[in-house]
């Protein structure tokens, strides 16, 4: 499916540019898009190296598995395929915690690491497992406790009360997280029915 979306996005863009005379912009976009992607990956290196280094210490010292035991009841309900003492649990949890505090930069390496562990649990197959899809659904619903970036923008524009946003964000995030899990479950049961 991602193959089609990718091709369709580019072809629509190119076709549109021909009709609308935006070919010059599109030409430029090809190069700026590629450049931006590389800049982003290079920028990620520093964060990835630092946080994965830190997390390795947390893993080696047993801190990650302690964390998993603490939240075991909730997490094992969400990820029934993952054994509760598996390192994947620790990474999933740390990723969720980082996301909750709006630490997007720290969350990405932990999320990738969690995916890696989940892939291993899935015998290294290159297709998404049930737990991977669940993990992704939770991530896209983005459980946020403190939307730090947004609060900062509101402060910049002299909001009367920048943190007013915390309440609605919490409610919206909670509802959408529950919805994401339900949607995920729905697709899972549909898959398993098909065999």
């Amino acid at each position: 499916m991602v193959n089609y979306i990718w091709v369709v996005m580019i072809l629509i863009g190119l076709g549109f540019a021909m009709v609308n005379g935006t070919m010059a912009e599109v030409n430029e976009a090809v190069f700026t898009g590629a450049k931006e992607a590389i800049t982003l990956s290079i920028g990620l290196i520093s964060i990835l190296v630092f946080w994965l280094g830190m997390m390795r210490i947390a893993e080696d010292s047993g801190l990650l598995s302690k964390l998993s035991t603490l939240f075991k009841p909730v997490i094992s309900k969400l990820f029934p395929e993952v054994p509760s003492n598996h390192p994947a649990m620790g990474y999933i949890l740390s990723n969720m915690i980082a996301n909750m505090f709006g630490l997007g930069n720290a969350a990405t390496p932990l999320g990738i690491k969690a995916m890696e562990e989940l892939k291993e649990l899935n015998d290294g197959k290159n297709e998404a497992s049930r737990s991977m899809i669940t993990f992704l659904a939770i991530n896209t619903a983005s459980i946020t406790l403190i939307p730090t970036t947004v609060i900062a923008i509101r402060m910049n524009y002299d909001s009367a009360n920048p943190t007013d946003i915390v309440g609605p964000t919490l409610v919206a995030t909670a509802v959408s997280a529950v919805a994401a899990i339900l949607i995920d479950r729905f697709f899972y049961y549909r898959r398993s029915k098909k065999g």
Partner: protein
């Protein structure tokens, strides 16, 4: 407010200190562990590159051609009929695709309409309660080499749609 900014300021330093102290207490070779873990980070960043380039070029072409604007204009009347302000439509459509673009639109909306206006609050809530599905999908699956995404894309986008609708309803109720 002070508590919130204190938490976001102190969270990372406290976490670093805690991990280091606990590691030392458990007699982990901390520095060596750090370096070993860090090595993985370089590999990861490099393995993401082709996925990000592919995706970001496609998004850039789609946006630069003007196709995205046309799509937004098409959807506008229908969305306005159900009470969704037109100004928010581009943000809702771009949020799953591009994080930086969404952040740009959010600050623009807050700047133009004011941080405490309905549209400003809605933009802020949307920004805070949803995530860049396409990015998460590309980076997470790309880094570990998942080629068959299964239902992941459908689940992700449906979850996004629900998150956007929820944000609109919640803000309409609370403000």
């Amino acid at each position: 407010m002070e508590i919130v900014s204190a938490i976001s300021l102190w969270f990372i330093p406290v976490m670093i200190a805690f991990i280091l102290i606990y590691g030392t207490y458990k007699k982990v070779p901390t520095y060596e562990s750090f370096v070993e873990g860090g090595k993985e980070g370089i590999k990861m960043a490099v393995s993401i590159m082709p996925f990000l380039v592919g995706m970001m070029v496609a998004i850039a072409v789609f946006r630069a051609s003007g196709a995205l604007d046309v799509m937004v204009n098409w959807l506008r009347p229908g969305l306005e009929m159900v009470g969704i302000p037109a100004e928010i439509v581009p943000l809702a459509l771009i949020r799953p695709i591009s994080g930086t673009a969404a952040l740009g639109i959010t600050s623009d909306l807050i700047g133009v309409h004011g941080p405490d206006s309905f549209i400003g609050t809605l933009a802020a809530t949307l920004q805070g309660s949803t995530d860049t599905t396409f990015y998460v999908l590309t980076v997470y699956f790309g880094a570990v080499g998942i080629k068959k995404m299964g239902d992941a894309l459908k689940v992700g986008f449906l979850a996004d749609a629900v998150a956007i609708i929820t944000a609109i309803i919640v803000v309409a109720f609370m403000f």
